[in-house]
């Protein structure tokens, strides 16, 4: 029962972060800022969701289930290694092609930074 509550909380939190990423892609102003939302909302949400699934696996406690939970955590570890790399590759390609980052125009009364 307690396990179920923990799992549901973790998975819903993960889904909430996914939602933030998706809305961010739509709302943010340019390529770079969209990559912020696209590339990394995923890492924490996938980690949370997989943590929830791994804990769910431990319902009936046995060596096989612990191994399965470990493998699930390994998946999220690999995603954490590769996701920033691909984000970096995309951003760098954009930067080297000379795409200008969007910069907020200084409004009246605010000093130009």
């Amino acid at each position: 029962m307690v396990l179920n509550i923990i799992c549901i909380t973790l998975v819903s939190l993960g889904i909430l972060f996914f939602l933030g990423g998706a809305v961010g892609i739509l709302r943010f102003p340019d390529f770079y800022t969209r990559m912020h939302a696209a590339g990394k909302g995923d890492t924490i949400s996938i980690f949370l969701i997989f943590l929830g699934i791994a804990i769910y696996q431990l319902h009936d406690f046995s060596v096989a289930n612990i191994l399965v939970a470990g493998k699930i955590l390994f998946i999220s570890l690999f995603i954490m290694l590769t996701s920033p790399t691909s984000t970096h590759a995309l951003i760098r390609a954009g930067y080297e092609e000379g795409l200008k980052p969007w910069i907020r125009k200084p409004t009246k009364g605010q000093p130009d930074s």
């Binding site: 933030g20 961010g24 800022t33 990559m35 590339g39």
Partner: protein
């Protein structure tokens, strides 16, 4: 010595991934681990000048850094979530390109710093040129987080003790 450590590492991974403990699977694991160690042990741990003791210390300290990183990722994800979902969030977006100098000497340390910066939302490493990192940051708040160098300090504590 290094070869034996690599063998143990590979065999441990085999045991975790196969999940079978009968004689046949274990023997198969030992054979394939030996084979891989023989043909490709040079590719693991390219820098052999450091002692195994030092490596072990790094391995023990790394989980601490990882947990701290997870906490940071969580915090800054909340920040991004706020920016994306709240109606006023759009006004707080102030993209800027930040350049910082790093004190880290080893390639692995720099790689880890760049990856950690990219992992914490709001900042992405665009490029590493020698000891300068070019970082794109989404708002004022995240730019400050990069500039104060807390992450760099932790990495150097774990991986480059006494080398700076």
């Amino acid at each position: 010595m290094y070869r034996f450590a690599i063998f143990l590492l590979l065999f441990g991974i085999w045991i975790i991934f196969s999940g079978q403990f009968d004689a046949f699977h274990l023997a198969l694991g030992i054979l394939s681990s030996i084979f891989i160690t023989v043909i490709s042990s040079e590719f693991f741990f390219a820098d052999r000048s450091r002692t195994l003791r030092k490596r072990l210390r790094e391995i023990c300290l790394f989980p601490g850094y990882f947990l701290w990183l997870l906490y940071q990722i969580f915090l800054s994800n909340l920040h991004i979530l706020k920016l994306a979902l709240s109606p006023r969030g759009m006004k707080q977006i102030e993209p800027s390109v930040v350049r910082i100098k790093t004190k880290l000497r080893t390639d692995f340390g720099r790689y880890l710093l760049a990856n950690s910066i990219t992992l914490t939302p709001g900042t992405i490493t665009i490029n590493i040129q020698e000891d300068e990192l070019v970082i794109h940051s989404i708002s004022e708040h995240t730019a400050i987080g990069v500039k104060d160098g807390a992450m760099e300090g932790r990495i150097s504590k774990v991986f480059e003790e006494g080398e700076i």
